[in-house]
Point group: C2
Chain length 232, copies 2
């Protein structure tokens, strides 16, 4: 029990939380992966009102007894069957009319997973879960539920920024990867080709060699690398 000053305990005992307005809070999940030379995002086809039949980001309402991170982990598990994948909180969306049901504030989370780990299944509330190329999704005229188009655009912008100055892209390759594979993931996210020499110089401090090599290919075997864990 917190008690910091005379009378605080009494105050808290009599505190009426209903004095302040309360708001529904949801977590929306932006789960990115790279597949077929494309950056893809996990979307659901809504099977319920509102926006029934539209594509939407998977999401869950935040329960009174769970933190935002716990809600995100629960949502990720419900949609993908996975736990322990990389996630980070991105931004919180609070427009008044973003959900026609009621006022819902949404905390968006970006999750990155290498395709080999992902075997998603549809959540109970949805009729379909799909991995869609982000570019196609944004370019097409199909309606996306709620304000999710804007949230996806924002997440894509953040992902591109963070790829430039962090090692976040390593979450999108298998644990062991060749340098051409890694470079291709960077290029896919950034949407532009990179010079091999510059790229290798940039990632060199973040990787370490393994003793494994590609095999069964016509050309010279490529060495597999893995992400160097920081000492922290």
């Amino acid at each position: 029990m917190n008690s910091h000053s005379p009378g605080e305990e009494e105050f808290l005992k009599n505190y009426d939380a209903s004095l302040y307005e309360r708001i529904s809070v949801a977590v929306d999940l932006l789960t990115f992966t790279v597949e077929d030379d494309c950056l893809k995002i996990l979307m659901v086809r809504r099977g319920e009102h509102p926006f029934s039949g539209c594509l939407a980001l998977p999401g869950v309402f935040v329960g009174k007894e769970e933190t935002l991170d716990e809600a995100a982990e629960r949502g990720i598990f419900e949609e993908t069957g996975l736990s322990g994948i990389y996630y980070e909180q991105l931004y919180t969306w609070g427009a008044l009319d973003r959900d026609p049901r009621t006022r819902v504030i949404s905390v968006s989370y970006m999750n990155l997973v290498s395709r080999d780990k992902l075997s998603f299944r549809a959540g109970q509330r949805t009729t379909e879960a799909v991995l869609l190329p982000v570019r196609d999704l944004l370019d097409e005229n199909e309606e996306i539920a709620f304000d999710h188009r804007r949230i996806i655009e924002y997440a894509l912008w953040r992902l591109r920024n963070k790829v430039e100055y962090t090692d976040i892209a390593f979450h999108l390759v298998p644990e062991e990867f060749t340098l051409p594979e890694l470079q291709r993931v960077y290029e896919i996210i950034l949407g532009k080709p990179l010079f091999k020499a510059n790229f290798r110089k940039k990632v060199a401090p973040m990787i370490e060699e393994t003793d494994h090599y590609t095999s069964g290919e016509a050309h010279r075997p490529s060495r597999y690398y893995r992400r160097k864990m920081s000492e922290e």
Copy 2:
């Protein structure tokens, strides 16, 4: 009225928002300025339970009919009398026990203001509003209310990062500034001296000359500059 599929209108009419748990949502304000060669933050001395007598970040509960940004603007105005200052949403905090009254999720906003604009007044809920050096505040053992110490540490980390690769520091100098003044603001935030030549090269694309010069000083007058507005 949104209506996207058969039956949606009926569904929304009968929707019972109380089916989902709702949570109190607050906005906490990190208002930074530079004064007396120090990075300072606006804090309030709480005059009410809980944490009565402790230093805390100013904040407001988010009303049902206001967006997060509107709540932040209202809070900034209540605490400083200012509108139109720079702010950005930082992060949303959702630990279960962060507020002893009830579950409160807090969306933190970082606000930057040049000291010449700031003439803050205490808000109604507080007995005292003070500008405190961030370093002293974090180094001292004084108790800071709620999880606000952690929020301040996070904001300081974000501010330092953003100063390196954006023009955010310009919000902390007057509209017209000399290059030594600007460099000092960068140094204060980053906590380290910068080489003049490197610094000038870095900020050159972001500034433009004015026709004004410092006067009344013993040494040669310095030219005033202003921030170059981007063409977007």
